[in-house]
């Protein structure tokens, strides 16, 4: 397997504390004044040329937020966040309004190039032959608060698929946005989601019309660049009856000594017979080996299987962030709907992860599957927190959960906190959990066959997470495999 070899080579080359995406792009940016008030919300809404209803929606969320308290139940610890000491909006300063890729600041394009993200459609337009088997991926790139480029718009349009920055969708497709925004994650949902509702600046919007199988993978890359800036993106994906879409999300940020807040909201809606596959490779800056800096990743992701026979599948590979607080969930409302959650969460150094999922069975004969693989190294803490419930009327609900934790070294912790509630006697919920340590014997076996200690750890871990990696689209699986080994760099003595 060449990918594995590449992983191994890469691990050998890099130094501890080297975060591959830790560079900063020097561009002029347009920021809202520091701090949060109604004026900040108005400023953002005005920047986006939003209609009045959108501003009202935001203000209502903001007022609600003022009455709420930060959640404290997660197994994570961090100093109090001063919400008045943050910038809530930062946009790369455009020279004029951007209509094509050529008008984007070349510095930003260079950043995405460094990240290996194919923004340029030019090669396609000019008929550059791509290697066989490489699929096309449409990309929406979000830089700080603004979506800077969306590729393959035309090709998608032909199929009837709408894929654009949400700020544009609010103006161009208000009927769709109004109908679905906040219906999965209400503005009152939780502290961070409510904050996001008030100040979200951009994100992606996807609508797949009835019966359409989206002709390519859709992808968004999020990049936090500005100092002291929160990123609050909002993603809304709607798969209409009988449609299918696969969506990928990647995240990186520069290396900084201070912590940065990322509070995103993702809402998915699957109507009758529709399927949404949502994959994330999250690699926000995790902080340095002393635990200084890194992103606070406080994210609300939820999918609503609103239609009968609909399906939503979350796959996530989480290697970054100083703190992760994230529970991509499925509301299984439609009869015979299905929810899936496949997760790899890796923590090293001083990282803290509290992540998992919720599967809420409301409809009849709904099924769900949870496969979670947590890997803890260094002095990190890694918690799986999950909720599986069956409503009174959820006859025939079924869930299978498998949570496996792997510990590397003896200073880290893995915790599993499953909540299971069945209010219908026909529900069948299964839960399996294991915790293991990479054994000295396994490592010695590998090194006796010529692998270095780190190659051995990389190999064992990649084997441990294989079931989940297989769920990722191929391009992402290779990327994820590399990330896993990189993030475990220096985890063995």
């Amino acid at each position: 397997m060449p990918a594995l070899q590449e992983t191994v080579d890469r691990v050998r080359r890099i130094d501890v504390d080297q975060y591959r995406y830790g560079f900063e792009t020097l561009i002029e940016s347009d920021k809202a004044p520091k701090g949060l008030s109604e004026d900040t919300v108005r400023f953002i809404s005005a920047k986006k040329n939003e209609p009045a209803w959108m501003l009202e929606w935001r203000l209502e969320a903001y007022r609600r937020w003022l009455t709420m308290a930060e959640p404290k139940w997660a197994r994570v610890h961090y100093p109090k966040i001063d919400y008045q000491d943050l910038y809530y909006y930062a946009a790369p300063k455009p020279k004029k309004s951007v209509t094509s890729l050529d008008e984007i600041d070349p510095e930003i394009l260079k950043t995405y190039e460094k990240l290996g993200i194919p923004l340029r459609e030019i090669e396609v337009l000019e008929g550059v032959v791509r290697p066989e088997g490489e699929r096309k991926i449409a990309v929406d790139a979000v830089f700080d608060s603004v979506s800077v480029a969306t590729t393959f718009k035309e090709e998608l349009k032909k199929a009837g698929v709408i894929f654009m920055p949400i700020s544009e969708a609010i103006r161009e497709h208000p009927e769709l946005v109004k109908k679905y925004l906040g219906t999965v994650v209400p503005t009152s949902d939780n502290f961070f989601a409510t904050l996001n509702s008030a100040v979200f600046s951009d994100g992606s919007f996807v609508y797949v019309p009835p019966g359409v199988r989206c002709p390519m993978e859709l992808s968004t890359y999020f990049r936090i660049n500005e100092r002291n800036t929160g990123q609050f993106e909002r993603t809304l994906i709607i798969a209409d009856k009988g449609s299918y879409v696969s969506y990928l999300e990647g995240c990186t940020a520069p290396q900084r000594d201070e912590n940065q807040l990322h509070a995103a909201v993702v809402e998915l809606v699957a109507l009758d017979d529709a399927e949404i596959k949502y994959s994330t490779v999250q690699n926000w800056y995790p902080g340095n080996s002393e635990g200084l800096g890194g992103i606070y990743n406080f994210v609300t992701k939820r999918g609503d299987c609103r239609g009968n026979h609909s399906k939503i599948s979350w796959t996530q590979v989480e290697t970054g962030s100083a703190i992760t607080w994230k529970y991509p969930s499925c509301i299984l409302r439609g009869d015979n709907s299905r929810g899936e959650f496949y997760s790899i969460a890796i923590s090293n150094g001083h990282q803290q992860v509290d992540s998992g999922t919720k599967m809420l069975h409301l409809g009849k004969n709904t099924t769900s599957r949870i496969i979670s693989k947590g890997i803890a190294a260094g002095v990190s803490q890694n918690t799986y927190r999950g909720l599986v419930t069956a409503h009174r009327k959820a006859t025939g609900a079924r869930n299978f959960t498998a949570c496996d934790s792997l510990l590397i070294g003896d200073k880290c912790g893995a915790h599993t906190v499953p909540y299971i509630e069945a209010k219908n006697s026909s529900a069948l919920f299964e839960h399996e959990a294991t915790t293991s340590k990479i054994s000295e014997d396994v490592l010695f076996y590998c090194v006796q066959r010529g692998l270095s200690q780190e190659e051995a750890v990389g190999l064992v871990v990649n084997g441990f997470v294989k079931d989940v990696l297989q769920q990722l689209p191929m391009e992402f699986a290779v990327e994820a495999q590399k990330l896993i080994s990189i993030s475990l760099e220096g985890s063995v003595g």
Partner: protein, 250 residues
Amino acid sequence: MPLLEVKNLQVRVDEREILHGLSLTVNKGEVHAIMGPNGSGKSTLSHVIAGKPGYEVTGGEILFEGEDLLEMSPDARAAKGVFLAFQYPVEIPGVATMTFLRTALNAQRKARGQSEFSTPDFLKKVREVAARLNIPQDMLRRGVNVGFSGGEKKRNEILQMALFEPSLCILDEMDSGLDIDALRIAADGVNALRSPDRAIVVITHYQRLLNYIVPDFVHVMSRGRVVKSGDKQLALDLEASGYAQFEDAA
């Protein structure tokens, strides 16, 4: 120059001395058998040669082709040609045997400054060796040793031995847990690897294995030392008289 020279080796585990000045010389082309009762230090010797952590060498030295083996990391020793077939091979779930073999082989080749095998060359080589050892292709796709029978695990060890072509093969209790047919297949695999460029050290309790892998030299270990050395006849004598006679000698 001998391939392996163990000189007056003293080893401790958790403050307890297990080997008290053990010496052994092995030349290329030779097959040695090391016999002895439980707790005589046979496995310790094999672990220390391979570089397993947890053993403290308090005296003596080990030279491999004249170089100080104890100075090398375990993976460097493997790349130099030291191979240990484990008594209890570990399971590595999710890592296909084929992937493992290729990763390990290429790691060794790289350490030796050789080019990596191309995929077709590698596959050809593995299939050839696997066929000789009666290892079905299906086994190569499964996780390393996951769900393998005792015999399959041992055959997988010999498969690796054949693939990596080490100059020193140490077989730790290869016969444990094998029925007579499985033992014969494994032994045939080992015999096929006998070569003037290679030495094989067989560690065993029982003479039985030595009917299949016939040694040039037999050493009896007791209480952390080699107490007697001879030819294959010594193993047969032991079978008749037992180890008790050496307990006092040690």
